[in-house]
Symmetry: C2
Amino acid sequence: MTGYNIAIVGATGAVGGRMIKMLEETSLPIKSVKLLASSRSAGKVLRFKDKDLQVQEAKPSAFEGIDLALFSAGGGVSKQLAPEAVKRGAVVIDNTSAFRMDPAVPLVVPEVNPADLYQHHGLIANPNCSTIQMVVALEPLRKKFGLKKVIVTTMQAVSGAGNRAIQELNDETAAILAGKDYTPQVLPVSGDQKHYQIAFNPLAQIDVFEENGYTHEEWKMIHETKKIMANEDLQVTATCVRVPVAVAHSESVWFELEKDGATAAKLQELLAQAPGVVLEDDPAHQVFPQAVNAAGKKETFVGRVRADEEQKNAFHLYCVSDNLLKGAAWNSVQIAEYLDQMDLVRVPQK
Amino acid sequence: MTGYNIAIVGATGAVGGRMIKMLEETSLPIKSVKLLASSRSAGKVLRFKDKDLQVQEAKPSAFEGIDLALFSAGGGVSKQLAPEAVKRGAVVIDNTSAFRMDPAVPLVVPEVNPADLYQHHGLIANPNCSTIQMVVALEPLRKKFGLKKVIVTTMQAVSGAGNRAIQELNDETAAILAGKDYTPQVLPVSGDQKHYQIAFNPLAQIDVFEENGYTHEEWKMIHETKKIMANEDLQVTATCVRVPVAVAHSESVWFELEKDGATAAKLQELLAQAPGVVLEDDPAHQVFPQAVNAAGKKETFVGRVRADEEQKNAFHLYCVSDNLLKGAAWNSVQIAEYLDQMDLVRVPQK
């Protein structure tokens, strides 16, 4: 049996579960799948296709013989174990923020900057979920008209904060509907000092606050977008809000193009043909992207494309995508597919 | 007993109920309160202070002897009955969109343009809920630094679509948590062709779509803001999204000031002293405005004030307010208080 030996690190998490599903659906040749997690989760049994696989402890020796390792177990785990995996010959696709801004590490969205994969030294970073769907939607427009400025407000699903956050949303919502008390323990940020109600209550905090008043999630959207689009002069600013939604992020994006000549109709035409994009934009029939329709799908759904009627070359769009799939697991597996097609599933010798 | 004879038209609705509450709390001298609604709701008994009041049918003769009439029963009812009320000597404060853009009708937010009340001919329009809280937050900044451009994304509560929408959010959420089917019948717009799930699903449609791809809600935010701030050159653009929240709208506002010299700290200082504003902006302690905290309050809560780090004189803020109070009932009763203080509770003779 030919194919790759693949490891998933963080297999028992919200993204890990989707990684298993994406590997079940991929055309990538697979020889074996190894599920890794913390020692606490080791021993659990998860299904891959028709097989039961026992979760093993993620430790350096677990990467012996692995060709491709998909990491999604938190930045700390990646910082510690990704170099160990690479040392043992595995190409790592890391879904955490640990290495994203490292100039030596490609930060890749296959629809945008697949050629950056040629630069990898064994480690490829998967961008933040909210960034990925935005650049997928903007790239076809940037290619044709150039991109000058982006102002985004996100409405992000709680699953971005993991399975415990989904559980909290459900339990808290049920409690409030029943008129019962509920003490939040996870959102907005499990490791931060205070926790707030997410049920029926948007929270304008995702990740911790920086010195300048932006959250780290907003910082990621700003700096990752510049890196992926390879343009430090691209102006990006963001407000990230968690909303009571389980799966799929919705984003309201205002953007200014560099070149003249764009119209909403022309942008819609570009989006209709763009890879990874489904245009859902028919106001006359109330067609616009919705989280419930995007959940479980790999594409980024784009609609509400229209001109800023008072500023030349400025437009709005609204994009929705499954944060666990295109925002995480699918983008990682898609990177693996590209690496395979580009013959890059190998750690370059120094 | 001295004071005003006041009528509430639409007393059985979501806003009407809050108007009763705001009149209970007002310092306005009140002689009598008359509750009016459609013939369908006539006969219902509602409480005002320690009295039971029977709801009467809203018809022209009902306004005989009324000094102040607060309308919130839909644009059609206002178009038909507001002129009848004015004809009978009542000053009308209309919470619908029926007369807002009429150049002869002042569109008033007391914190912003109270002097416009001097121009009234018997009819004053109360702006749209999403517009009011935004101009309350921006006005102190505009006054000091001038305002050039506003780009807003709203996350609006379902109560803006009435009591039936609140019921739908609750019933639908409970059904989904229980794994049951639910057929939406109200949201996003009760009178539109299609209805969609709001539970755990943001809907980027509030009010009907216009020809240019904007919704009518977005149109209102754009044009009402210009009128209230008396500046047709002020650039405003908007994306309005309904979110699974019962009460209080949250708004992510990016804005560009005209004059140099502003800093986030200076803007925070202005907001801390501004009428009708409560500054909730302390990222180090995770303090930012939240719908659950704003619900039931009259103020507009403002936070997340920070500079756009790549564009001079551009900033973000995040504002939250009770859409049924400052967005509707309280702003109407507040206008009544101002009319009383300005000795304007009379219909000018032609």
